[in-house]
């Protein structure tokens, strides 16, 4: 196939044809077609060449790239930006910054985040009840982290999250239900702060399994009772 025939075939659109003609090209390399005897000689030498390369790798054990995963936990270096797990940042006293503004819930493309307001707020008007995060449907796109106006979410490289039960992949990211650290700081002492919040475990609260809480599903399609089997499995775990 030569260049000219292509050009003429495409002459309907002169503009694109001239643009095509201006593209600097290089022809794909092509080994010449050989006759019977040359092919035998060339073939044998090319096969030997390939065998030389593979043999080089066989005898040079330094070329092995396998990492033996569970054994190399100590030496395993992960990049610091690796996204494998979502956490909510808590300060040294164990208080977070989440105001339960639901922005992360809105940006999540696959409804993996379900923010529940605290039913009886103690300090401020609106407090975080449960920050439910579904690892099983999360794609680690990082949009929630970017969207959070208070930077209270963070992606970490903690990737060993496999379990035998899907329901165990639904977590509460917050360690307590209650106000943000700034609002709590306004309180008088630690005792008042402790009474203003309620500590929760990672497996408490509503379960957002099986797409029940996907964005836009009308209320009447949501199940009325929580799945007995699911809650049983979650109770069996000591977080």
């Amino acid at each position: 196939m030569n260049q000219e025939s292509n050009m003429s075939a495409n002459s309907k659109t002169d503009q694109s044809a001239s643009a095509l003609a201006q593209v600097p090209i290089e022809n794909a390399k092509r080994w010449p077609d050989l006759n019977y005897f040359n092919k035998i000689i060339y073939g044998a030498s090319s096969l030997a060449k390939g065998m030389k390369i593979t043999f080089g790798y066989l005898i040079n054990t330094k070329t092995v790239v396998t990492q033996q995963y569970p054994e190399n936990r100590e030496t395993l270096i992960l990049a610091d930006r690796v996204r494998a797990n979502l956490i909510m940042k808590h300060n040294e006293n164990g208080y977070h910054d989440c105001t339960s503004c639901h922005i992360c819930e809105g940006v999540c493309p696959n409804a993996s985040i379900h923010v529940v307001d605290r039913s009886e707020p103690t300090v401020s008007k609106k407090e975080l009840g449960y920050f439910v995060w579904r690892l099983d449907s999360c794609t680690f796109c990082n949009l929630c982290v970017m969207a959070c106006p208070f930077s209270c979410l963070e992606m970490t490289g903690q990737f060993e999250s496999s379990t035998y039960d899907q329901s165990l992949l639904v977590y509460n990211l917050n360690q307590y239900s209650g106000a943000t650290q700034n609002n709590l700081a306004k309180l008088a002492d630690d005792q008042a702060r402790t009474s203003a919040i309620k500590a929760i475990s990672p497996y408490e609260g509503p379960v957002a399994l099986e797409g029940y809480h996907l964005a836009g599903i009308p209320k009447e399609f949501l199940p009325q009772k929580s799945d007995a089997k699911t809650s049983q499995a979650r109770e069996g775990v000591n977080p």
Binding site: A28, R30, S46, R81, V82, V107, C141, N142, L143
Partner: protein, 382 residues
């Protein structure tokens, strides 16, 4: 005109007037060399493939429909799932379309970094293709060599983007993070490492007499037919048409770099193979020209807002991914969600060229042809 009834009849006359009993065989949805869940119904005469009926839809996820339900910012994340081997180039195409709608100019730093990363991704995609190509031809070792070298780029990506396959890195208006401090150093190391390896690829596989015999003059398609089927990328370029958007409609930093477009002369599987190998060399060249002078500037030019509302209108952006032209078309009605989102994916159109390439060949030829088109099935079904 050939109807479907003719195509499913099993008594196509031979050239000498006799008829042979043909039979149908299902290649796929579960078959090692359809690379996923593509199903090809083959009409065969012994080992010879007489007709092919591709059947799609086994991995249809309704991404275009879902795109109507999520906001513009989330579209990028959906395109990771189309052609997962060119995830970043897809990210870029969508981001660029949204930027175009918002009439947003991104700075040189973003353009340069995007170009470097897209070329790295092209190399990465071709590396994987090379490995899989070897495996489809029956040599298992290239597969692991390809993956070994792909890992180097994946590690660079992991450092900068925090993810290895579905990165969601290019955002409307820029990038999610700035590049990692080691980015430039790592890429230079990679280029130094990869050039000899590419030579080795050619010694191990390209020069091999068996590969030559398997690929040369197999699955020939001429440029006009390929264009008529809508094929783009290396499939079209191997037929001799240098259609490369990086040259014809330069985007990113491509107008600043010198590179050539490899084109084939015959349009057979060998040309498609060799065009990709030479593209890897060209990508290395492009990266080398850009890596030393990445301009300074912010990595994001748009103030972060959870909702993006482009003005009402229709917007189309296309880019050259490793497999061909990836286009994003969306209709905005001024809301925070697109009225309609369409992806023009290269694989869907490239697939149909096998209708011209494969008939008359053997099953083994069909496998080589399928592999030389470099299909990614999730990209076809969307």
């Amino acid at each position: 005109m050939v109807t479907l009834n003719d195509r499913i009849s099993c008594h196509t006359p031979n050239q000498d007037g006799t008829t042979t009993q043909e039979y149908f065989i299902n290649m796929g949805p579960q078959h090692p060399s359809t690379h996923g869940v593509l199903r090809l119904i083959l009409k065969m005469d012994g080992e010879t493939v007489n007709d092919i009926i591709p059947v799609l839809g086994y991995i249809h996820r309704g991404i275009e429909k879902k795109a109507e339900a999520v906001g513009y910012r989330q579209q990028v994340h959906l395109t990771d799932r189309l052609d997962y081997l060119c995830a970043l180039m897809n990210n870029w195409a969508v981001s660029a379309a949204i930027e175009k709608a918002l009439n947003l100019e991104v700075n040189d730093r973003i353009q340069t970094v995007r170009t470097i990363i897209a070329e790295l991704q092209r190399i990465q995609s071709h590396q994987l293709w090379w490995g899989v190509f070897g495996m489809d031809l029956g040599a298992f070792t290239p597969f692991l060599y390809g993956f070994r070298d792909r890992e180097k780029i994946t590690e660079i990506f992991e450092k900068t983007m925090g993810a290895r396959l579905t990165m969601n890195y290019f955002q409307p208006g820029g990038m999610m993070y700035d590049i990692h401090p080691d980015f430039v150093k790592d890429i230079k190391e990679f280029i130094k490492y990869f050039r000899p390896i590419l030579k080795e690829y050619e010694d191990l596989f390209s020069g091999n007499i068996i590969v030559q015999e398997r690929l040369k003059n197999v699955g020939i398609i001429d440029a006009q037919t390929a264009l008529a089927y809508g094929a783009t990328g290396p499939v079209l370029r191997a037929s001799g048409m240098p259609l490369d958007l990086r040259k014809m409609q330069p985007y990113g930093a491509y107008s600043k770099v010198n590179f050539t477009v490899p084109v084939g002369t015959v349009g057979d599987s060998w040309d498609r193979y060799q065009v990709r190998i030479q593209e890897m060399y060209q990508s290395l060249l492009i990266i080398e020209q850009l890596i030393d002078n990445i301009p300074d500037g912010p990595h994001m030019t748009m103030k972060y807002a959870a909702k993006i509302k482009p003005p009402a209108g229709r917007y189309y952006t296309q880019m050259e991914t490793a497999r061909g032209i990836f286009g994003t078309f969306f209709v905005s009605d001024g809301n925070d969600r697109p009225y309609r989102m369409h992806f023009r994916t290269p694989n869907f159109n490239n697939l149909w060229s096998i209708l011209k390439m494969a008939p008359g060949g053997r099953v083994a030829d069909l496998v080589a042809i399928l592999s030389s088109i470099d299909l990614v099935v999730p990209d076809m079904d969307r």
